[in-house]
Symmetry: C2
Subunit: 145 residues, 2 copies
DNA sequence: TTTATTTAGTTGCATATACAACAAAAGTTT
DNA sequence: AAACTTTTGTTGTATATGCAACTAAATAAA
């Protein structure tokens, strides 16, 4: 089972200096908190983000959604499709300039979820603490800036 | 297209106070940096994490891997399977106590990737700045603690 | 020691995500 | 106006991920 050679780079590397790994780990911890609170609503954070972002504007061009959430076009197409099928959004417009509208069903749905979403956010904030929350804002600001 | 009612909670909510959304956005930005640098190696960050973590220990019980990377058991099973199929790891042991070993092929592979991984990490660090990097460490520390 | 419980791994199912290739529409150049 | 370029949306393909249900093995309780 032993390796035939020695691997210096590998032996001396520290996987935990990886920025992507740190963020991945962080999102897994936080996602679990949100999933727990949102479970009864049968909604994911990705879906809730769409509901809240589009809902707040009442409607958004599909092309804007990807820009706002930094999602690839095909991801937006398919994430929306599932929710259109469920009646939370409708799509209007021609082939290349689609506009997505939230429906009353979608708006009611997101309103029913918001209290639990707030609770999840509160739990996450408590875990982060005041300083942790500010730190996260700084990270985001640096990355988006 | 207009909504039939008004939705107070929805109109007044700020989607961007969401901790999960902030982290999701952050990871998308950082992932893109790593994908760009790792593209030529045809490897993802998830795979590279497995290679580095297991490789550094030479071997790890499968059950440990999920604990270290905070991944669900089934995710570990399948992420490993793809890489075992490619010959980067081997699996030894009985039905419920598996141990995963890195192979020479896997160790060579990860060593060939490390320089570009370092470059990606450097680019991400530059974007974050010294303060942003410390902020990320604080976030992770708070969430894991 | 037998029984009950916990731990470990797998498989079915569903969502989320990106890239490449394609088609169609919109915008720009000439 | 015609030709070229960019933007937008979709579909094929692949990886990543979690939950539920199941099996099997290990551990604890009786």
């Amino acid at each position: 089972m032993a390796l035939k050679k020695s691997y210096d780079l590998l032996e001396n590397v520290d996987p935990w200096i990886c920025i992507a790994s740190k963020l991945s780990l962080s999102i897994r911890v936080v996602s679990a908190i949100y999933r727990k609170h949102l479970k009864a609503h049968n909604v994911t954070m990705s879906q809730l983000s769409l509901l809240m972002v589009i809902g707040k504007h009442k409607s958004l061009p599909q092309s804007e959604i990807g820009k706002i959430l930094k999602l690839e076009r095909s991801t937006v197409t398919r994430d929306l499709k599932r929710m259109i099928d469920q009646g939370y959004f409708v799509k209007k417009g021609d082939k290349t300039r689609q506009v997505i509208y939230i429906t009353d069903k979608g708006a009611s749905y997101v309103e029913s979820i918001i209290p639990d979403w707030r609770a999840a956010t509160q739990e996450a904030k408590t875990k982060l603490g005041e300083d942790g929350e500010q730190a996260l804002d700084l990270v985001l600001h640096k990355l988006m800036g």
